[in-house]
Structures are given as structure tokens and as C-alpha cells.
């Protein structure tokens, strides 16, 4: 078995020293509770620097600018239109020079390479019309973490403007697909949220599916068909170590971590019946939660850990049910026509995202945890498996095209969409991709 070199993700990222800023009032704000938000024009000139800092300043600016643009909430302005060519050094800025461009916000910053080789990056966010500083922070980090610094700055800007946590300093674990459709080669893959730093965590010899992040550690759980024994696995991203989870008398599948990271909840299939179990990762004790001759699968905890949402065909068709996390009070929450699957609880607790199949089409939708307020966000021949950004504002899923009998088509790709149903975008991956799972904000 090929061992994939584990790149330690430990960061040595000294966080957030606030740069003096007056307390702002009457400030810039984007209200995300509205439906469609007009993107805020924002100017982000290259962060200033000397020597190596020049290129790093440019690169960091590109990454954070792209983050903000992709959110659909910001419109970074074309730098060629900027009046101030050395904008980053003006503190405070020449507000008039930005007002003429209709910039509402301005980000300035600089990058210094310290004597120890580490980067010191600082930025300031300015409100052009109120003429005041909204935020200012300084970070130090190892040079190899320059992209993370850019994402953290983008998160800080996002949070200052929207009042909600960002989601840019995150990663995606997913399944990379290649080869013929009747024998797809599927590999575990991981990349930054912006598709950078893509790497593969498995060699493709074993079929692997449905990876999910631990909320608390650099681990993922997934399904592997190694040795023709489909079993839930635990994989440490840092060390590359992996193990079969539990000792079950059949296929285990559909794993997810509990919110505290101490358990994995999954399905076990025996004699055609699939039931839901938890495995305590410390004691290795398995607990059975459901007892049916039907199919209970795709379990997902509520963020407080008190409840579990799952799909079941115990009522005759595949629908979504909620139960207490001890298996009591099982009740159905979907009654619409069609089949409902892959429920995932929002990190904010207020919504459940799902896949719906109806009339030959697949849909990604959200509803309240009691099943009310269903909203379908997107549909296609195939859209499946939503995963939430950690702030609960954006969903990622995979979208597939139909295949013809010669094996053309059948391409799966990752996409994101805003909770409002706007800003649907493809997430670039080197190969076809499916089963995305969004990490928490990287600690």
C-alpha cells in the first residue's frame, strides 16, 4: 500500500493582534437575512512589501480577493482603475480617490518577511463613505502558510461586513473520480476551500466513498471497499494512519462524526436491513439506535448532539426522520411527494439540507428541523449530498450529467450555492469529483 506523505498541517499561526482603530458607527453592513444581496464594491490593492514581500503581497491579495468575490457578496474592483498606486502605505487612505471609483470598502495591507523568515501580515479595512477604519489585524505565520493568512484576512473582512463568521480558512475532503463509468476509480482527496493545495489521500485501488471531517481533529471517516469488505474507516490526515472502525457483522456505511468528535454514527446492513449505530471512539463500544427491517441510513447529528436526522423507507418510501440521539421519539418530518435523502443539519441548527428525487430530477433543498418551510435551491439530472460551510450560509454538493450508452458524460463535479439559492458556482477540481465534505474553520 502506498503511503501518502502526510503534510503536517500544524501552522504556528500567531493570531490576530488588533491594530488600533477608532470605534466605528453608522458602518458598512451587508444583511444576509435578505434574499439576494447586491455585491459590495470593494477595492483591494496589492498588499505592500519590500523584496520578497512584493510578490507575497500580490499573491495574498489575489487569494483573499478571489475568496470575497466567490462569496457573491463582494465585487472586488479592477486594480487597473485605481488612482492611488501605492495605496497600501496611506494610513488613513485618500478617501476621495476611492469614492470616485464607487468603492464602498477598501482593504489595505502589507507583508514583511521577518529576520526569522516568518511573515508578518497586517491589513486594515476602511469604510470609504464614513471615512473610518473598520478593522485592523496583524498576523505572523510561516511562509508556507501564506495562503491561510489570505483566507484568514478574507474571513475577518467577511465577518466585519456581514456580522457572520467566514468560511474561507477551510478545506474540502471529497472523492476524486477517474476511469470508465462501469469501474470508476475513486480516491480520497483533500484541498483548500478555494481548490488550492489539492492532494490525494488514497491510491485508488480500493473503492472509497463518503468522506466526512471530524469537527475536532485532523481525522476523517469514510467508507472503504478494501478487501471487498465495505467498512467504515477512520483516517488521520496528519499521520496517514487508518483503521477499520468497530467489529461489525456486515457492511458499515454512511459514517459521520458526532459534534463533540467522540463518536461516529453510521449504518450497519445485516440480512437486508440497515440500522443506525454509534461507535464511541474512546471506549470502542457500539450502541444500536434503531431496530427495523427497513433501511435506516445517512444519519447526521444536530449541532447540539441532542438529535439525529436520517432517512428511512420504513414508511414505504425514502423519507427523512428525526429522533433523539438515544434512539427514542423517531418521527417522520418529510411528507412531500418524491424521495428524500442525505439530510445534513446546519451548523447553526436552524435548517436541514437534503437531496430530493422527484419526477426524474434531483434537487438540493433546505427545510426547518420540523420539516416545514421546504425550499428547493437547485436541481439537475443529478445533484446529491449537500455539505454545509461552517457558517451555515453556503452549501456544497456534487452535480452529475447523464451518461450515454457509450460511456460519454456521467461527469460529476463539485458546486456551491448560497443558502438564498443564488450564486451557484462550480468548484474547480483536477478530475471529476463527488461526495464533498466541508471542514470546520481550521483551528
Amino acid at each position: 500500500m502506498i503511503r501518502f506523505a502526510a503534510v503536517p498541517f500544524a501552522v504556528c499561526l500567531a493570531l490576530g493582534i488588533a491594530l488600533a482603530a477608532p470605534v466605528a458607527r453608522a458602518e458598512l453592513h451587508l444583511d444576509l437575512t435578505q434574499g439576494r444581496v447586491e455585491p459590495m464594491p470593494i477595492a483591494i490593492p496589492d498588499f505592500a512589501g519590500t523584496d520578497e514581500g512584493v510578490q507575497l503581497g500580490h499573491d495574498i491579495t489575489q487569494v483573499l480577493s478571489a475568496d470575497l468575490e466567490r462569496s457573491g457578496l463582494f465585487k472586488p474592483l479592477d486594480p487597473r482603475a485605481f488612482v492611488d498606486k501605492d495605496a497600501a502605505t496611506h494610513i488613513p487612505p485618500n478617501y476621495a480617490n476611492w469614492r470616485v471609483l464607487n468603492a464602498q470598502a477598501l482593504v489595505t495591507g502589507n507583508v514583511a518577511v521577518q529576520p526569522d523568515g516568518r511573515l508578518a501580515v497586517e491589513f486594515r479595512l476602511w469604510d470609504i463613505f464614513a471615512e473610518q477604519q473598520l478593522a485592523g489585524l496583524r498576523y505572523t505565520a510561516t511562509r508556507q502558510n501564506w495562503r491561510r493568512v489570505a483566507h484568514i484576512v478574507a474571513d475577518a473582512i467577511y465577518k466585519r461586513i456581514t456580522g457572520e463568521d467566514g468560511y474561507f480558512d477551510t478545506r474540502i475532503v471529497y472523492i476524486a473520480e477517474s476511469g470508465p463509468l462501469e469501474h470508476r476509480i475513486k480516491r480520497l482527496a483533500i484541498m483548500d476551500q478555494d481548490s488550492a493545495n489539492n492532494r490525494y489521500l488514497s491510491d485508488g485501488r480500493a473503492l472509497v466513498l463518503t468522506p466526512r471531517f471530524s469537527p475536532t481533529s485532523q481525522e476523517i471517516t469514510y467508507l472503504s471497499f478494501a478487501h471487498n469488505q465495505p467498512r467504515v474507516m477512520l483516517f488521520n490526515i496528519d499521520t496517514g494512519q487508518q483503521e477499520v472502525l468497530g467489529d461489525f457483522p456486515g457492511m458499515t456505511f454512511a459514517p459521520r462524526f458526532s459534534p463533540d468528535g467522540n463518536k461516529v454514527i453510521m449504518s450497519l446492513a445485516v440480512n437486508g436491513a440497515s440500522n443506525i449505530y454509534t461507535l464511541d471512539l474512546r471506549t470502542r463500544r457500539a450502541v444500536r439506535l434503531t431496530d427495523t427491517s427497513a433501511i435506516d441510513t445517512s444519519p447526521c447529528y444536530s449541532p447540539d448532539g441532542a438529535q439525529v436526522v436520517f432517512n428511512s423507507d420504513r414508511g414505504g418510501s425514502q423519507q427523512i426522520y428525526v429522533m433523539n440521539s438515544d434512539g427514542t421519539d423517531i418521527h417522520r418530518i418529510t411528507f412531500g411527494k418524491g424521495q428524500y435523502g442525505t439530510p445534513v443539519w446546519s451548523p447553526r441548527g436552524d435548517l436541514i439540507a437534503f437531496t430530493k428525487i422527484d419526477g426524474g430530477q434531483f434537487y438540493i433543498g433546505v427545510m426547518r428541523p420540523d420539516g416545514s418551510g421546504e425550499r428547493l435551491l437547485t436541481n439537475a439530472f443529478l445533484v446529491e449530498g449537500p455539505t454545509w460551510a461552517p457558517n451555515g450560509r453556503v452549501l456544497m454538493y456534487f452535480k452529475g450529467s447523464p451518461a450515454d450508452s457509450e460511456g460519454r458524460g456521467g461527469h460529476n463535479r463539485l458546486w456551491t450555492i448560497d443558502l438564498t439559492g443564488y450564486n451557484e458556482r462550480e468548484v474547480p477540481t483536477p478530475q471529476d469529483a463527488s461526495d464533498p465534505a466541508w471542514s470546520p474553520l481550521i483551528p
Binding site: S267, S274, T297, S298, G316, D404, G410
Partner: protein, 159 residues
């Protein structure tokens, strides 16, 4: 929901018992089968695929076994009782018009339904392993009704 046509199954068993000669059991030398194609060695994988039939098809989102499927499984059981050293793995598959995890469970349910019937027809359960591939290993590529129907299947594979 677990659709088991208990009554139907019992009826088929009776008919089968009346209509067919009991297969020889226990003997190392297999008896000749009535309509054997040229080429396949008796008791081989090819023999099984050509002269018995390795697959049972299902309706959309169903795992109950049709009359045609029951006839196929009867032939499989007869053959397996004739060649007692053979073990098999039943692969359960689903078309790609369901969600991934549900389809893994559905494939398992289809394979288990086929196994249950083989066991009821006298094949020892410890000779039959099951595995589900859900929608991961389509038998026929293509998103059209004919391909989907071919992919809703339990395939008995000689180990």
C-alpha cells in the same frame, strides 16, 4: 418496509419440488445437466453463467423477487446443490437514480433477498456471501431505462 412474498415463495417451492427431479447431492462427480452448451466445463463459472443464469432483476426501488427471478434462483439452487464445493458471492446493485448511501443499503437488501431464497431452496447459508455495490459498479453504462433495468440486479458470482 421489507417486502417478502412469503406466500408466493412457498407456492414456488411446492411447484419446484413437484416439477423437477431432485438434484444429486454429495457426490463428487456431477451428473449431466439436460441442456448444456458446448465449451463450458460442468461446475465451472462459465457453466453457471451459460446454463443457469447469474442474475436476478428488480423493479425500481424494490427488492422483492419476480417470478422470473424465482425461476433463476431455483436453477441456481439446483446447480449449487449439485456442486457442493462451490461458494458464491451475491453482488447487489442499484441503478444510479437514488442517493449513494440509500442505494448501498438497497443493493444489500437485494442481495440478501436472493440469498434468503437460495437458502430456502436448500443451499447452505455459509456458502453464500453478499456484498452491495449500490450504484458504484453499473453493469451497463448509460442513463436510460434499459440500462437502469439491467443495473437493478443481484448477481451470483462463483468464488
Amino acid at each position: 418496509m421489507n417486502l417478502r412474498p412469503i406466500g408466493l415463495l412457498a407456492a414456488v417451492l411446492l411447484v419446484a419440488a413437484c416439477a423437477q427431479n431432485p438434484a444429486p447431492t454429495g457426490g463428487p462427480a456431477p451428473g449431466p445437466a439436460p441442456t448444456r452448451l458446448h465449451g463450458a466445463v460442468p461446475g465451472s463459472r462459465e457453466d453457471f453463467m451459460q446454463n443457469v443464469g447469474d442474475r436476478v432483476f428488480f423493479a425500481f426501488n424494490r427488492s422483492d423477487i419476480s417470478a422470473e427471478g424465482q425461476a433463476t434462483l431455483q436453477k441456481q439452487a439446483d446447480w449449487l446443490k449439485r456442486y457442493e464445493n462451490v461458494t458464491v458471492t451475491i453482488e447487489g446493485h442499484a441503478d444510479d437514480r437514488g442517493t449513494r448511501e440509500y442505494n448501498l443499503a438497497l443493493g444489500n437488501r437485494r442481495a440478501a433477498a436472493a440469498k434468503r431464497m437460495l437458502v430456502s431452496l436448500g443451499v447452505a447459508g455459509n456458502r453464500i456471501a453478499v456484498i452491495s455495490y449500490g450504484k458504484e459498479r453499473p453493469i451497463v453504462v448509460g442513463d436510460n431505462e434499459e440500462a437502469w433495468a439491467q443495473n437493478r440486479v443481484a448477481i451470483t458470482v462463483i468464488n
